[in-house]
């Protein structure tokens, strides 16, 4: 698979390789942080290019917030290093405090300074010179012109986050860190704000590291997404790559809705309920049991009573449940052995519960994950 | 300049110290506080005390400081002005004004002739619930010490237990006890004589009077306020002048007329409202013997008063 980052076999002191330094805004190498017995961040390698928007996606407790706090300088790593804007900010013999890292930060809670007005908040990180001009620029950028004199408690949740973003952007940081900045907002506001934030960051040319547990959010606005589990990065890819070719079952299940259909390898192909699929690059020997990733929309159904010939009995499935998703409907199908999976159809082509169907996939080349031979 | 630690309140002796400055040109730096606190202060400071003179409310505190060797002997011309029973035998402190123990009584419920001749009269059950005292007060404790010396430990214990059996009200100090007598909360209280006169000055209708014991009764003890000079005094010359001033005619007149105390030098008379020292018939007792406070404290604790 193409997804994982190449792990360079260099050690920390040589971290700045002049050839890729210019376009790299940020990177970590073998970054590790332990709290007692728990390794919260476990040898993480990440590269973020200048102007790139990278999401770190993972379930709660996976270590993504710790990763962010390490980058910001609120925690001291137990191993590995961090480089921001071509400068080592954390390493074996180096630990720059947060105020010297040129990093902007936006938290879930806006964390605005309650004693300062909007202009005061935005201007907090600015030198006196040019301050007014830059504040005006940012107020316009985040669309809050005219509200400079408001106090934080006089703003709506969305406006507060805009101010927080403007405040982070004001001193031209080398890297912006977003820690679940939308999760405290309601759904409509959230989707509108994240589009706006992406646009603001793009027009400011900012490099962004964005931590979230919401995969929809991550896929929607990121250039690349790093999936994290138990302190480790499982995969870093573009959103579509991640969706279509997850490197393992965890990533597959965490990003989007996944059907993992079991089967057995025969003649280089995996035989499943819904057809045969190529078993990787011939890597899998005959007889190995494996799972095939099929997204609900990659499958389609045919009603058994409309078929010209009778299907094999073991491939006849029953619609047991339907879940309405607006433009499409997910049908939960159950096999004679009790295995359940989902198939999506347009809302206009839904099939009644209880109907007997067969399913097959349009794609032939899909990710295949061998099951451990136990 | 002279530094005074005064266990006597500024209200009482402030004007007098100003008079001293006026008379001699010597500035007085005075620190006012409770006598026991001032004594503890000097004891804690030890050799490093900035004080020159300790001006105390009662002989016990002076004795305690003298016992630690912190007071210097006074010159004979000062000591000579005062009777032996009002000064330290080793000459480390001298009394400057006298205060008599009295029984203050409420004049609405009692008359002079109702009062017993001896403090032992108050152990009678007829006084049950009618008595007030202030056992944490220094003058009271000096009186108990006198009682022990004059009547012996057993009689002293007998008296304390007798009063205790009459369930006396326990007051914070002499003023509070007198206040209670005046309001009729209690009928009698064992206090010093001069509190009444201050009370009368503020409120001439005060329903209280002093009853003096006679015939050498321990209840007629006359104690003193006195002064001593610290042996670390830097201004010992000025200090001696101050103590001499306190025993001079001007100061003695002040004590007689302003604080209603007994002047202690020959030829000075107390306020006409007071019986003279001779009339009181104070028990024969050397005040320096009153320094055995520990024994008194133990006794008070044993009887369950403290």
């Amino acid at each position: 698979m193409t997804a994982t980052v190449e792990r360079p076999s260099v050690t920390m002191p040589q971290m700045s390789d002049p050839s890729d330094a210019p376009q790299l805004a940020f990177r970590t190498l073998a970054l590790t942080k332990r709290f007692g017995d728990v390794t919260a961040v476990d040898g993480v390698d990440l590269d973020v290019r200048r102007g790139e928007f990278l999401a770190v996606l993972g379930p709660s407790g996976c270590g993504k917030t710790t990763l962010l706090r390490l980058v910001a300088g609120f925690e001291r790593p137990d191993g590995g290093g961090i480089e921001v804007g071509g400068r080592v900010v954390a390493g074996p013999r180096r630990h720059l405090p947060p105020e010297e890292r040129r990093i902007g930060m936006v938290f879930q809670e806006s964390a605005l300074f309650p004693h300062l007005d909007v202009a005061g908040n935005i201007g907090f990180g600015l030198a006196r010179r040019d301050r007014q001009r830059r504040i005006a620029e940012l107020v316009a950028l985040v669309g809050l012109a005219g509200l400079q004199r408001r106090m934080p408690h006089e703003l709506s949740g969305g406006q507060q986050q805009r101010v927080a973003l403007a405040r982070a952007l004001a001193p031209h940081p080398a890297l912006i860190l977003l820690d679940e900045p939308f999760s405290s907002l309601d759904a409509t506001l959230r989707s509108q704000l994240r589009g706006d934030v992406r646009e603001i960051l793009r027009s400011a040319g900012a490099t962004t590291l964005f931590v979230t547990h919401d995969q929809g959010e991550a896929l929607e606005i990121s250039d690349r997404v790093a999936v994290m589990r138990a302190g480790r990065i499982e995969q870093v890819s573009t959103p579509d790559e991640l969706y279509l070719r997850p490197v393992n079952r965890f990533v597959a299940g965490f990003v989007g809705e996944a059907n993992l259909l079991p089967g057995e390898v025969r003649h280089g192909e995996v035989q499943t309920l819904v057809g045969r699929f190529r078993a990787g690059h011939g890597a899998l020997a005959d007889g190995v049991r494996a799972e095939v990733l099929l997204r609900p929309e990659q499958l389609h159904m045919l009603q058994v009573d409309r078929l010209s010939s009778a299907p094999r009995p073991e491939s006849v499935l029953t619609v047991v449940r339907r879940v309405f998703h607006g433009s499409e409907v997910h049908h939960v199908l159950r096999s004679p052995t009790g295995f359940e999976f989902e198939v999506a159809t347009p809302s206009s082509a839904t099939i009644e519960v209880g109907t007997r169907v067969i399913a097959h996939a349009r794609a032939r080349e899909v990710p295949v994950y061998p099951l451990d031979a136990e | 300049m002279v530094t005074v630690y005064s266990g006597r309140s500024e209200e009482l002796v402030g004007p007098l110290l100003e008079d001293f400055t006026e008379a001699t040109g010597i500035e007085v730096e005075a620190r006012y506080g409770d006598t026991a606190e001032m004594a503890n202060l000097i004891l804690t400071e030890g050799e490093n005390s900035p004080a020159d003179v300790f001006f105390a409310q009662d002989a016990g505190a002076l004795g305690a400081v003298a016992q630690e060797g912190l007071l210097a002997p006074l010159p004979e011309e000062i000591l000579g002005a005062v009777e032996d029973r009002f000064k330290s035998p080793s000459g480390e402190w001298v009394g400057v004004s006298g205060r008599a123990r009295v029984v203050a009584y409420n004049t609405e419920t009692l008359a002079e002739e109702d009062m017993p001749d001896s403090i032992f009269g108050f152990t009678d059950p007829e006084w049950s619930g009618r008595i007030g005292w202030a056992p944490t007060n220094g003058s009271f404790q000096s009186f108990v010490t006198a009682l022990r010396i004059i009547e012996g430990e057993d009689r002293a214990r007998e008296w304390l237990e007798g009063i205790q059996a009459n369930e006396p009200n326990v007051y914070d100090g002499n003023s509070a006890a007198l206040e209670a007598v005046a309001s009729g909360e209690i009928d009698v209280a064992f206090i010093n004589h001069y509190y009444l006169f201050q009370r009368l000055a503020e409120d001439p209708d005060t329903a209280a009077a002093n009853h003096f014991m006679t015939d050498g009764d321990p209840g007629a003890l006359v104690n003193v306020a006195g002064a001593g000079i610290l042996n670390t005094a830097e201004n010992d010359e000025a200090a001696r002048e101050l103590v001499a001033f306190l025993l001079g005619e001007e100061a003695q007149t002040y004590f007689a007329t302003e604080t209603y105390e007994y002047p202690l030098i020959d030829g000075m008379e107390a306020d006409p409202a007071l019986p003279s020292l001779g009339e009181i018939g104070s028990p024969e007792l050397d005040l320096s013997e009153l320094s055995d406070l520990e024994g008194t404290l133990e006794l008070l604790q044993e009887v369950g008063i403290l």
Binding site: F35, G36, A72, G73, E75, P98, E99, M105, F107, Q108, E109, S110, A111, L112, F113, P114, H115, F124, G125, P152, H153, Q160, R167, A168, P173, S184 | S9, E10, L12, R31, Y32, D34, A36, E37, T44, E45, G46, N48, P50, T136, G138, Q141, D172, N174, S175, A176, L178, E179, E185, Q198, A201, E202, P204, L293, E294, L297, L300, Q301, G304, L306
Partner: protein, 532 residues
């Protein structure tokens, strides 16, 4: 929006900067100085001291004193909670004035308050004479436990009012709104949502009340209650032997440890920061409706007893004395000295409380906890112990500052720092650490973050803490008598020196001046409290 977070394991606490630990440790060491002094003295004690300490009577006094402290604390909470709520969250008519009046009792010196309680409720007091025509000839016994509990409650409950008021004003209304939306009525919401959030503030105030009751001497002795502190004074006054007193004082210190432990438990482990501290709206005002009359009656009774009664007593002294020809005794220089020393003490205590509170809240490791707890050591000790401890050290080793204003201020600091620490700590708990972290990323060092962000945010708390210290330092007596520069007269000393000799008229003017200065400063402070 708001969240109530309890996560963050202890292992994630960042190490504090060295200067912060240093400053905190300095304050703590100062606070422990009296205990060190007591230990030195007690080391020289013999069996008689131990026997005295362990005799039944001493232990009985100790037990009764603890019961008194518990009673006073409970009663104070019951009085203070409704007052704090009514004066911040309801439409009580004239609530700003009730706000000032409900804190004013703090300035009444306990030896004046004690006289007032006796004058009003004593066996021959005002109440008795009012009831006499109704055939009531005997009131329930005031002297002893009931009177001491009453007097201490009346003059110490404002500690809780002040800390709870601050917390109520800073409370994010979102929590209460959520509760209401979940179907809980206002009453249940108050008990199940508001009160639990006020717990740290209640605990902080209650701690001060409890320790104050342990250390008070004036009120208990006027009300004839044999408290432990009184026993300590008796040792000092009667035996001139500081060893015995030291042994007793150390027993009191041990009890203080117990009280501190109880408070830690009560305070709870949850963190109460308002996540988006910036987002808080001012809380809504609750309309009392017909309950208003009951509320007004309640406030009137409390203020009547704790302010009008003592002030009335003082006024009575003044009128009686002046009409009998006594001088008015307006002591302006003593007033000036009082204001100066108390104001400086307030500033010093607030400054000292900052590193202590930051260590305890932001870097919750054992050093921080120890430092914070150590500052409380001085508050439960009788003033005379602290005073003599400073005399002992300074007269020997620091003659240059002995009997100077700076030394007096240091002693005030030891005595009153806990008042400021408690309030600063409670304010700090409500500031999200995220806010400080943002400031770090915007280029500020920890010191600058403290100066430019944290302190401005908790300013109302700092002012309230300063006010508390100001008021209590103004009435402080034993340390002032022992440590003030010679000739440095204060109002407290004037009042005490007059009342102790029965010069009530001459005590009246200084006492009134004290109340006026206090009322004035409180008005200013409570106006600032809202101004944020």
């Amino acid at each position: 929006m708001a969240t109530l977070t309890t996560r963050r394991s202890a292992s994630r606490v960042p190490a504090p900067p060295a200067w912060l630990t240093g400053a905190g440790a300095l304050v703590a060491l100062l606070g422990l100085l009296p205990i060190a002094y007591l230990l030195i003295l007690a080391a020289g004690s013999d069996e008689s001291a131990i026997a005295l300490a362990l005799r039944d009577r001493t232990l009985g006094v100790l037990a009764r004193t603890l019961v008194l402290a518990a009673t006073v604390t409970t009663a104070s909470v019951l009085v203070a909670l409704p007052l704090a709520w009514l004066t911040t969250r309801s439409d009580l008519p004239g609530r700003r004035w009730w706000g000032v009046l409900s804190v004013l009792p703090l300035v009444v010196p306990s030896y004046v308050g004690g006289y007032a309680v006796v004058a009003a409720f004593g066996p021959r007091g005002t109440l008795q004479s009012l009831l006499e025509p109704l055939g009531i000839t005997r009131l329930p016994e005031l002297y002893g436990f009931p009177g001491a509990a009453l007097a201490l409650t009346l003059f110490s409950f404002p500690y809780i009012v002040l800390s709870v008021r601050g917390a109520l004003l800073r409370l994010d209304p979102a929590y209460e709104e959520v509760s209401r939306s979940l179907g809980r009525g206002p009453w249940r919401t108050f008990w199940t949502v508001t009160i639990p959030q006020l717990r740290p503030a209640i605990a902080a105030g209650a701690l001060l009340v409890a320790l104050y009751s342990l250390a008070d001497f004036g009120a208990v002795s006027l009300l004839q209650f044999d408290s432990f502190t009184r026993a300590i004074y008796v040792q000092y006054r009667a035996s001139f032997d500081p060893t015995l007193a030291a042994v007793l004082a150390l027993m009191l210190v041990t009890c203080t440890g117990g009280v501190l432990l109880a408070e830690s438990r009560l305070r709870g482990r949850a963190r109460y920061d308002r996540a988006g501290a910036g987002a808080a709206r001012p809380p809504a005002t609750v309309s009392l409706g017909a309950w208003r009359w009951l509320a007004l009656a309640f406030c009137s009774v409390v203020v009547g007893l704790s302010v009008v009664m003592p002030v009335g007593t003082i006024a009575f002294w003044l009128i009686r004395g002046v009409s009998a020809g006594e001088p008015l005794n307006l002591v302006w220089d003593a007033t000036l000295n009082s204001v100066l020393a108390s104001a400086l003490a307030a500033v010093l205590a607030v400054l000292a409380s900052i590193p202590v509170a930051v260590l305890a809240v932001r870097h919750r490791n054992w050093v921080g906890v120890l430092i914070e707890r150590a500052t409380y050591a001085g508050f439960a000790l009788p003033g005379i112990v602290i005073g003599l401890a400073f005399v002992f050290v300074a007269a020997r080793f620091l003659p240059a500052i002995y009997q100077t204003l700076p030394l007096l201020l240091l002693a005030y600091l030891v005595r009153f720092a806990p008042e400021a620490v408690g309030v600063t700590r409670a304010s700090l708990l409500q500031v999200s650490p995220r806010i400080e972290e943002v400031a770090r990323t915007l280029g500020r060092r920890p010191g600058a973050v403290l100066r430019e962000v944290t302190l401005p945010i908790i300013r109302p708390g700092l002012i309230a803490g300063g006010a508390l210290v100001f008021l209590t330092a103004m009435k402080e007596l034993p340390t002032t008598i022992l440590l003030a520069p010679t000739g440095f007269d204060t109002l407290a000393v004037r009042i005490w020196s007059a009342t102790s000799e029965g010069f009530f008229a001459r005590a009246a003017a200084p006492a009134l001046l004290m109340v006026i200065v206090a009322a004035f400063s409180l008005t200013v402070v409570l106006r600032r409290e809202r101004d944020r």
